[in-house]
């Protein structure tokens, strides 16, 4: 079946190119005859096909008759800006957010870890990451056909969520690169101030390859909307798609792929690397909450690219994701501050910044699926839950997740993933799930949707947990996880990097 589609795709592409000039204004009938084996009765309705060409894979006969789709410049511009915004989240946003939270003697080590991980992942993404995540293969792991970005040119097209609408594939490669780069960088907060720099880099390569890429493939890989024209083609798409995509799990911008994935790796890391010297006895206080606030604010701003950009098109759904990102984050900021105020007597700046990040995490999987009122509820609920984990559970269980990667990203991500399944319901203000066969909204089924969401959450926890455990073990055997006690007391800035952040 796959071979047949592929060969047809190749044939049709050639035909399309050959006939573009003289078939543009003509009836599709003549060329349809050349593809008599494929019935086109169920092909996409005219509303979807015109004026842009019906894409080749979906309706071969029509594609041959119409010109190849041309990416919309507005979509392309928006996605390039979104890519820049996500880069802003990592360097400098995440780096400063984390940097401010560590002690002065470890400031540069955290900045350096984030900076280097971003750069390392960017290169790995081009070499094999993109191919493994976004080509077909098994439902769990893609192939290597696009390794070294083979065959991707400025003319290559990437699917969006609308039939007949494409963006340049290179834009998609660049946009997804930033996601692949921020996710490993998030993990470093869990074992900040004590892990060997070389060990971090090696761990990240292993984890990126065996946890991030498979999960991105499972959740996000599919053939695109134009491949779906009828129930039969839907089945083909589902069979070819990533495992969790096929289950119907919803993750708009990466709650599962990015946040649960990174958060669980952080928890495993915090436990396996061990507590910082002096944890629970000495004051391990943030050295600059000013920089942490700057970092959190950059994360917030950059997150518009992350969330609204995940729509891949500049349209009303991008606007929905955009608005939801703002108000869920605002609600979560308020909720964390009021929680802290009522329980501890004072609302702190760090609390407000933490609430904002928790809100951003929770709305990430939901932002293009829920309505604004759903977003407010998600924001209001996520903060008390995350607060409970970082202020209580962490101390009860005794692990030293230094910058609360698990307590905010995994916990917020899990809550967001489940809340997405609830608030996507059109009866609760959500926009529902698109049915690409009927070209409308599918009927909402609470049980089925929550089953899919829970499956995705459990998959992410198990995958990341197991891969992280094995990866830390390997790194421990090869180079060891921790710096020496002397280096840790001295601070990683001078002991690992030979420089100091501040000279007074």
């Amino acid at each position: 079946m796959m071979k047949k589609i592929l060969s047809m795709f190749a044939l049709v592409t050639m035909l399309g190119l050959g006939f573009t000039a003289n078939t543009f204004a003509e009836d599709a009938a003549p060329s349809a005859d050349t593809e008599a084996t494929t019935p086109v009765a169920d092909a996409a309705p005219a509303t979807d096909a015109a004026p842009v060409a019906a894409p080749a894979e979906a309706a071969p006969a029509q594609a041959a008759a119409a010109p190849a789709p041309v990416p919309n410049k507005g979509d392309t511009a928006w996605m390039l800006i979104s890519t820049v915004l996500v880069t802003l989240m990592v360097i400098p946003g995440l780096a400063l957010f984390y940097g401010g939270l560590v002690r002065q003697k470890n400031m540069l080590s955290v900045l350096m870890q984030v900076f280097m991980i971003f750069s390392l992942m960017a290169v790995l993404w081009a070499i094999y990451g993109y191919s493994v995540a976004f080509t077909g293969g098994s439902p769990f792991f893609g192939g290597l056909s696009k390794a070294f970005l083979a065959g991707i040119t400025p003319d290559s097209l990437g699917a969006t969520f609308s039939k007949g609408v494409y963006i340049p594939e290179l834009v998609f490669v660049g946009f997804q690169l930033t996601f692949a780069a921020i996710t490993p960088a998030l993990i470093v907060g869990a074992f900040a101030e004590r892990m060997k720099f070389s060990a971090i880099l090696l761990f990240m390569v292993i984890w990126f390859t065996f946890s991030y890429l498979p999960l991105a493939h499972m959740v996000w890989y599919w053939d695109g909307p134009d491949a779906i024209t009828n129930a039969a083609s839907l089945e083909t798409v589902v069979a070819n798609a990533g495992w969790l995509w096929a289950k119907g799990a919803l993750d708009f911008a990466g709650g599962t792929v990015v946040h649960i994935n990174a958060g669980v790796a952080g928890l495993v890391g915090a436990i396996m690397v061990g507590k910082r010297i002096g944890y629970g006895k000495e004051a391990l206080t943030p050295h600059s909450l000013t920089l942490t606030m700057v970092g959190a604010a950059l994360l917030w701003v950059g997150w518009y690219g992350f969330n609204a950009g995940s729509n891949l098109e500049a349209n009303g759904y991008a606007a929905l994701a955009f608005v939801n990102t703002t108000i869920a984050t605002a609600a979560a900021t308020l909720a964390w501050s009021f929680t802290e105020w009522s329980l501890r007597g004072k609302p702190s700046m760090l609390g407000a910044a933490s609430g904002a990040v928790a809100g951003l995490v929770a709305i990430t999987p939901a932002c293009g699926f829920v309505g604004p009122m759903g977003a407010i509820i998600i924001g209001l609920l996520v903060s008390p839950i995350c607060y409970f984990f970082v202020a209580k559970v962490k101390y009860w269980l005794g692990y030293d997740d230094a910058l609360d990667v698990f307590g905010i990203h995994a916990v917020g991500g899990i809550f967001g993933a489940l809340a997405t399944g609830v608030f996507v319901n059109p009866a609760l203000g959500g926009v529902g799930v698109v049915d690409y066969v009927a070209n409308g909204v599918s009927a909402y089924d609470f049980g089925a949707q929550m089953t899919a969401q829970i499956t995705a959450v459990v998959t992410a926890i198990v995958l990341s947990g197991v891969v992280s455990f094995i990866a830390f073990k390997i790194v421990d055997v090869l180079i060891g996880l921790r710096v020496s006690e002397e280096s840790e007391r001295e601070g990683l800035d001078t002991s690992a990097h030979g420089e100091r952040a501040y000279h007074s």
Binding site: T285, L350, S354, A391, Y395
Partner: protein
């Protein structure tokens, strides 16, 4: 000659400096310090991690004066640095053996 070392609340520094210039004190050395006395520290909370901060920030001023200025200096500091609340600080008085002005080599009261 006397050497006066006073620990005061940081925000009182300007008032103290002003009061001392009025009575003719020629120079002051100021240091930001931390310490504890009877005033208790405070608690800081970072995402639920609670730290008791025992050492509070204070300012230490040091003045070298001739003997006859001492009472005025003490009075000036006491008045200008007082808030009436715990933590206002202390004044320590030492006998000063000798003073040298590095530039000219003058000694004693001449060097003050």
């Amino acid at each position: 000659m006397k050497f006066v070392s006073a620990i005061i609340k940081p925000f009182k520094l300007d008032e103290v400096r002003e009061a001392l210039s009025i009575i003719g004190v020629q120079g002051i050395t100021v240091t930001e310090v931390k310490g504890f006395g009877r005033q208790k520290g405070h608690t800081e909370l970072y995402r639920g991690a609670e730290y008791v901060v025992d050492f509070l920030p204070k300012v230490k001023i040091e003045i070298a004066i001739q003997d006859d200025l001492l009472d005025q200096v003490i009075e000036a500091i006491e008045k200008s640095a007082a808030t009436g609340k715990i933590g206002d600080g202390k004044i320590f008085i030492f006998n000063l053996e000798q003073v040298y002005r590095i530039r000219t080599g003058e000694t004693g009261v001449e060097a003050l």
